[in-house]
Amino acid sequence: MLETVFCRTPALADVTTHYCPGCTHGVIHRLVAEVIDELGLRERTIGIAPVGCSVLAYNYFTTDFQEASHGRAPAVATGIKRARPDLIVFSYQGDGDLASIGMGEIVHCANRGEKITVIFVNNAIYGMTGGQMAPTTMPGQIATTCPLGRDVNLAGYPIRVAELLSTLRTPAFIARASVHTPLYAVNAKEMLRRAFRHQAEGRCFTLVEVLSTCPTNWGLPPAEATQWLEEHMLPYYPLGIFKEPGGEDRAPTPLGENR
């Protein structure tokens, strides 16, 4: 008798995405969808799509969705969750959306302890608008609005969102993960699972920052983009759990130790 050992998870729509070759949004979408299904949350989950590359995320999941304006997903999520506390609410936001135009909304949403989950995809650049400098762009990294590379004398250093939000006392769970290799993706899924489980158990604000590649706007073939992330982003954006419920604020835990 034949047994199905692998199939598309129901929360992920059976469609082709618009993401570029080598972009890791697709991997992150799948991990989120798998976690939603494994926790049995699909029928009471509302996703918030941002403005940015994942603006069409509502086409790729089979949960109800609401589109947010640029940066305001945490405010939209607040409205939904306060209106219907029985629902599971997640926002899926990029680095321009969350760390630039939406910095006010994410900080206050986290600090109010809204019972939502934020998936923060950090690829160090604006993707949808064509490769402009983001708050997370690496020093010296070339972008269309910093053609000579990010000058930290003019633009400052990249913002570390997970660390910044971890200074707040209220949030329940804040972690950073990456998906540039299967091993890292397995760890990322565990971080997402914990975040959604905390929300389902009624704990307050959870956020998983996920490092992601953008071969198109980095100007690199996909394999080299993966390497670039490992060499340039991982040292500056350490992976690990920054905040856990009830726990003391901790330094990041190395990847191998929290699996």
Partner: protein, 362 residues
């Protein structure tokens, strides 16, 4: 229910609760702080939720989110805050969500002042944010009418799946008057279940997506046509106005809304005593504007006098209504200064005495 002496802002808050609203998201701004304050203590008593947002931008997006879940939701602000909310309001209109907004107008532009004004008429009635959309705009002239219109506003918002704004000035928010609520009142429209709401897609139900993004231009054009059809239905079915003295002959027709219209009613009596025959039309819906009624009333007058707490905004709609058949004169005060009945009488007298070209100077 017996009449109760209430401040306008509190009556507005209580009316929202009587209408079944359980959610308020807002940010403090003078002169409407009594509304969020009232909601913050009343909503928990009825099992509702009050959230003080970090900004009006956030508040407008919170009401957008909450409305997407199908629950009744409400916010209030004053002019500079309403400007900040335009982002969310455009998304709410584009996504066809019902919300009720209150603007207790203060004088502008910029930070302006905190005293009463009607200078946000253009912003309220012509769209306000980006894109082709309209709010249904209701303008009360008393605390009782504010309470009544708030309750209707929730029904109208649900019926049209469109934001409805109650546009008051600082006087409406701050003055105290007797007000009576009618618990268990019937909705002013027949309302359907909100099957479009994003509440979790159970079983085989297709996903509900709250969205105003249409990358296909033909689809976006169709969406715009659908929105415009709603606004046409409002123009057909929702026009509200009141008239004063139009059952007798008159030479001057005053057009005014909100608290200014109350000053003008006093002026109507003074004008009669001074031997000047005058009447008034008071638009209650500013969008849709009662063009046909103003036009018909104008035909019986020698001239029109539009009175506003602005540099002349509604007067443009009056001129559109009148189409040049009668001179339209404007009198306004700005900056938080108020109109007195004496000023209205003087303007009407000057209007009848002077050459029509001069009367049309505004």
């Amino acid at each position: 229910m017996a009449k109760k002496l209430m401040k306008g802002s509190e009556a507005i808050g209580e009316a929202a609760i009587q209408a079944g609203c359980k959610l308020f998201f807002g940010y403090p701004i003078t002169p409407q702080n009594e509304i969020p304050e009232y909601m913050s203590h009343r909503l928990p008593q009825v099992g509702g939720t009050f959230v003080q947002a970090e900004s009006e931008v956030a508040a407008s997006n919170m009401i957008y989110g909450a409305a997407g879940s199908g629950e009744r939701v409400f916010t209030s602000s004053s002019s500079p805050g309403i400007s900040l909310m335009q982002e969310g309001i455009s998304y709410i209109a584009g996504s066809e969500l019902p919300v009720v907004l209150v603007n207790i107008m203060r004088a502008g532009p910029g930070l302006g002042g905190i005293l009463p004004s009607q200078a946000d008429y253009f912003q309220a009635t012509k769209g306000g944010g980006h894109g082709d959309y309209r709010l249904l705009v209701l303008a009360p002239w008393s605390v009782q009418e504010a309470a009544d219109l708030i309750q209707d506003a929730f029904d109208l918002a649900d019926f049209y799946r469109n934001p409805v704004m109650v546009l008051g000035d600082g006087l409406i928010g701050q003055m105290m008057e007797p007000v009576e609520f009618h618990p268990g009142r019937k909705p002013c429209k027949e309302l359907k279940p909100k099957e479009w709401a994003a509440t979790g897609c159970k079983g085989d139900r297709p996903t509900n997506i709250i969205n105003s993004l249409f990358l296909d231009p033909a689809a976006l054009e169709q969406h715009n046509h659908k929105l415009q059809a709603k606004y046409e239905a409002m123009k057909r079915d929702e026009i509200r106005y009141a008239e004063y003295g139009t059952d007798e002959p008159y030479d001057v027709l005053i057009v005014a809304y909100g608290t200014v219209a109350r000053v003008c009613v006093t002026a109507l009596e003074d004008l009669r005593e001074a031997g000047i025959r005058a009447a008034m039309v008071r638009p209650v819906t500013l969008f849709p504007f009662p063009y046909a009624r103003v036009r018909a009333a104008a035909e019986r007058a020698k001239a029109l006098l539009v009175v506003e707490l602005s540099c002349g905004q509604m007067v443009e709609d009056v001129r559109l209504a009148v189409e040049g058949i009668r001179p339209v004169h404007f009198y306004g005060r700005q900056g938080g200064m108020l109109v007195t009945p004496e000023e209205v009488v003087d303007e009407a007298r000057r209007l009848l005495a002077g050459p029509q070209q001069e009367a049309d100077h505004a």
